[in-house]
Every structure is written in C-alpha cells, then in structure tokens.
Amino acid sequence: MAKRRAFDVTTLPGFTTIAILAFVLLYAPIVTLVIYSFNGGNSVNQWGGFSLQWYAIAAQNEAVQDATARSLIIAVWASVISTTVATMAALGTTRRGKFKGQTIIYVIINQPLMVPEIVTAVSLLIFFSSVKVATGYSGLGYLILAHSAFCIPFAYLPIKARLEGMDTTMETAAADLYATPWQSFRYVTLPLLLPGVIAGAMLAFIISLDNVIITEFVKSAGQDTLPTYMLGQLRRALTPEVNAISTALLGLTVLILTLFVFVTKKWD
C-alpha cells in the first residue's frame, strides 16, 4: 500500500473517484430493482425473503401475457422491416462517393434521433387518428409502422459503419473472378456485411421492445405493450410485479447486448 505511485500523465486529480462513484450510482438503483423483484413479501416496502412469487404472478397475469406477445410481435416486425430498408439505404449511401442529395438522405434517416420523441409521438397521433377514421383499420399495423420508422437510424448506423470499414477491393476482386454484380453482392458483399446487419437488427429489436412514448400515443385501446402496461400500472403504487417484469426485460436487454458484442467482435 505504501508503494509510491509513479507520475502518470493519464491521471487527473479526483477523476478516478468520481468515475467509480458514477458507476456505483448507475448500478445501485438497477441492482436494488433486481433484488426487490425477488422479494417474498407482499409489499415493496418490506423484505420478505427470497422468492420467485412475483415472477409467477406476472407470468400468470393475462394482461402481461398479452402485452408481452404484442411487444414481441411488434419488435420482430419492426426490426426485420427497419433492418431491411436500412441495409438498402446503407448500400446506397456508402462507398460510392458523394452524390447529389446525399445529405438530405442522411438528415431524413437520422431524423428520429434528433426530434424529441414526444413530438414524433404527437405527430403520429394526429396523423394516424385521421387514417384510422378514414380506413377503419385500427390493428397493430400502425405500431409496427411507427416502430419500423423509428428504428431505422439505429439499424442504419452499425450497417453503415461496417460497410465503411469494408474494402472495395473485395468487390473488385470478385468482378475480376467472373462474378456478375449480383453474384458479387450475393457471395461477397452480403456475407461480409452480415455482422453489421445482425448488429443493426439487434439494436432495432431492443429499441422497439423498449419504446414507451410513441407506443403510448399511437396504440388503440387494448393494444398495450409491455412498457405501456408497466407505465399504466404506475398510476397505482409501484408493485413488485412491475419490478419482476422490469428485471426480465433488463435480462433480455443484457443478453441481446452481449450477443451484439460477440457478433461484432467475432468477425474482426
């Protein structure tokens, strides 16, 4: 302990302490939430021993089951749609030099990242409420459409990053070896791009699964997703059941993120 520290240029006074404090502050509430989800007691206020009872209660709750199914359906559709169109857009806007209107495309694609979500939500409420009246359709399509659009920038960014890191000589070599442009895309570009596409799809999935505000405004009656269900529960007191659902969602997010890190690392 008494070892004298050598002068280290990367150390700044107090920085390490504040950083450690920041990590503690970031994780303490999450850990608390997770611990309380295993509370055996009947209230959030008292610890009644370890138990999985709130998970069982949540799992048997029909509203939770419905909301989970709806969340998953929307997230799967939204990630597939947004990843597909984002892949095409990334192929269109990357590695081909500057072209007219490229900046406009960038701005439109990244727009959901810049506009406050509440504004997007309100605008969709206005737009879709007219469409609902005009068409009579009030299914999950609106939520899927809204989520797909919102997820596009999240899918686009990792795919674009992957493409930019790819050498165009790969396609040149393919063309040299008798691959037509389509074959070159099918056998060289696409397989090399795949990690980026998978990463993009994962991020889009998480974003859709987590979305609260847009869903809250766009959903019709009886179309609660897991997050909006939880927000609705909050009108009453915070229940251990909500803690259990939160912990399950948290676990899913960590799992997907770990896979994401694994996928992006493996190919490089």
């Binding site: 240029v9 990367t10 107090g14 920085f15 390490t16 504040i18 950083a19 920041a22 990590f23 970031l26 994780y27 509430p29 999450i30 608390t32 939430l33 959030v44 206020n45 749609i81 597909t84 169109v85 095409m88 857009a89 269109g92 806007t93 072209f99 495309i105 439109i108 694609i109 727009q111 810049m114 506009v115 406050p116 979500e117 509440i118 504004v119 939500a121 309100v122 605008s123 206005i126 737009f127 459409l145 809204a146 797909s148 659009a149 686009y156 165009t168 396609e171 991020l203 998480i206 987590d210 505000i213 927000l231 909050l234 915070l238 909500v242 803690n243 939160s246 997010t253 993120l257 890190v261």
Partner: protein, 300 residues
C-alpha cells in the same frame, strides 16, 4: 475507390436503394411533423381534434391567456413556469451529467485496452436499458420507504423520511441518472482519439495538472463535449416519461404539457404549437452544434 461507376448512375442507385427507408420515414416520422405545424394554426375542435379553420389561437395560448369574463389578455404564468422548469432542469441535468461524465469517460479511456471494453460495456448496458425501467429503479431508491431514506434514517442523519419523490429534485435526479450514458459515450469517443503525448508535452512545458486540463485537454475534446451536452440537453427538454413518473403529474415539463393538450386538455392546436416550439428549439441547438463542431474540426 473504384471509379468505374459513372457519376449519374451512382447517385441514381443511391436514391433508389434509399427509397424504401425514405418512404417509411416520410410516412411515419418526418411527414407527420408537417401535419403538426399545420394543426398548430387551426381552430380547436369541440371535443377533440381540430376544425379546418385558420386560427392563431393555438400559438396565442402558448404564452398568453384571455380572461373568460372580461377578455383581458395576460401572460400565462402556468405555462411560463412549465417552460422555465423544463429549461432549468435540462440545463441542470446537462451540467451535472457533464460533471460526472467527463471523469467517467476519462477513466474508461485510460484503462488498459483489455479492461476498457468491459468498462465501456458497463456504460452501454444502462444506455440500452429501457428508460422506464431505469426510471423505476431510481424511484425505488428515492421513495419514502426507499433505500436512500432507510439508509439515512438508519444512521440517524434524519428522523423522518425526506420527501424527494414527486419534486423537481426527483425529476432532476432521474434525468441525470437516465441521461448520464448519453454524456459519457461521446466524451469517451473524443478522449479515445486524444493523443496522450500532448499531455506529456504540456507537463514538459511546466503546465500544472489544472493547466493541462484547461489548456490542452478540454479544447481538444471540445467537439465531444458539445456533442455530449446536445445529446443530453435535447432529450431532457423533451422528457416525458421521467417527469411523469418521478414528478407525479404536478411538476410538469413541456413534454407532459404537450401530452395534456392531447389528453385531458383537448386543445390540439395548442399542443401542436407547443410541439412546434420544442422542435424549433431543438433545431436551433442542432444548428449551433453543427456550426461549433465544424469550426473546431475543419476535417470532420
């Protein structure tokens, strides 16, 4: 870079391939924003929605109110206090997240290559975790029977639980908590590119640690600082979930006020006008950001 594709076709292909994404976005993101602007100048409907009659009422009500009896015009104090609270809390959130974010980003960037990925991952988990869950988590901590009050009472620092939940402080704590990763990540990106030999040069030329921080480090990572501040300030200003959950309905911010107009308030033109104002503030912030970062970084 292959030069084989003639200029015109590469632009055409770029547009063609981007078209599906653009259609989706115009349909369900950018396009409806224009409708909001239109709705803000229409007349309020009887129950909800609008009547298609041009009216300045929505915009008027953003700042003013008219007495229903004597029709005198006065500033809408309630609205102003909501704007002020939103602005104040957003600025405070930005400052506090920066105070925590800079040391944290610095700490991560100066870890050895192997453990750096781990620390970065620790920041990424809260970043991608549901905002609602994180807000619940902070609620667990600060509610009257939560661990913070229990802890303080246990050590005899207080005798009664402090009411934090449903106050501005709660909203501020919540926003700081949920937006901290948004500050850390761009700062980290900037520090990661930073050439640490410059610090050696600074010390070599007799600078103190404080002088090195102010004179060398901060100016060089300025684009990252601006990016982090914008990334925290914009969502703070438009925050909806955190003030709703932690502010308990009384301590509204602009986001909740907008929602109110489409919910109980049933004044769509006012809600649309408020949304447009929020959008414009964000747009101006982004312009300032683009200007500032392009001036600092002519190559980027």
């Amino acid at each position: 870079m292959s030069r084989q594709t003639p200029g015109r076709s590469k632009g055409l292909n770029g547009w063609l391939l981007s078209t599906p994404a653009l259609i989706l976005l115009l349909l369900a993101a950018s396009g409806p924003l224009l409708i909001v602007a239109v709705y803000s100048v229409l007349e309020k409907g009887d129950y909800s929605g609008v009547r298609w009659i041009l009216s300045g009422e929505g915009w008027f009500r953003v700042l003013f109110e008219k007495d229903i009896f004597d029709h005198t015009i006065s500033l809408a104090d309630a609205n102003l206090s909501i704007f002020w609270r939103s602005f104040k809390l957003s600025i405070a959130t930005t400052v506090i997240t920066f105070a925590f974010g800079l040391p944290t980003a610095w700490f991560i960037a100066t870890r050895p290559a192997k453990s750096r990925a781990f620390w970065l991952f620790l920041i990424t988990i809260p970043f991608w975790t549901n905002l609602l869950i994180r807000t619940f988590a902070i609620m667990e901590v600060i509610r009257n029977q939560g661990i913070l009050n229990t802890f303080l009472m246990h050590f005899g620092l207080i005798s009664e639980p402090i009411q934090i939940l449903y106050t501005d402080t709660a909203v501020l704590m919540g926003m700081t908590y949920v937006y901290l990763p948004l500050m850390v990540l761009p700062l980290y990106a900037a520090i990661d590119r930073f050439d640490f030999r410059l610090i050696e040069a600074g010390y070599d030329l007799y600078a103190s640690r404080w002088q090195v921080l102010r004179g060398v480090i901060l100016p060089i990572i300025k684009p990252g600082i601006i990016a982090g501040c914008i990334l925290v300030f914009i969502p703070s200003l438009g925050a909806y979930v955190t003030p709703r959950v932690l502010g308990g309905g009384k301590n509204m911010m602009i986001g909740n006020f907008i929602e109110l107009q489409f919910g109980q308030g049933q004044n769509w033109p006012l809600g649309a006008a408020l949304s447009t104002v929020l959008l414009l503030v964000v747009l101006v912030s982004l312009l300032v950001y683009t200007r500032a970062s392009s001036r600092d970084n002519p190559n980027g």
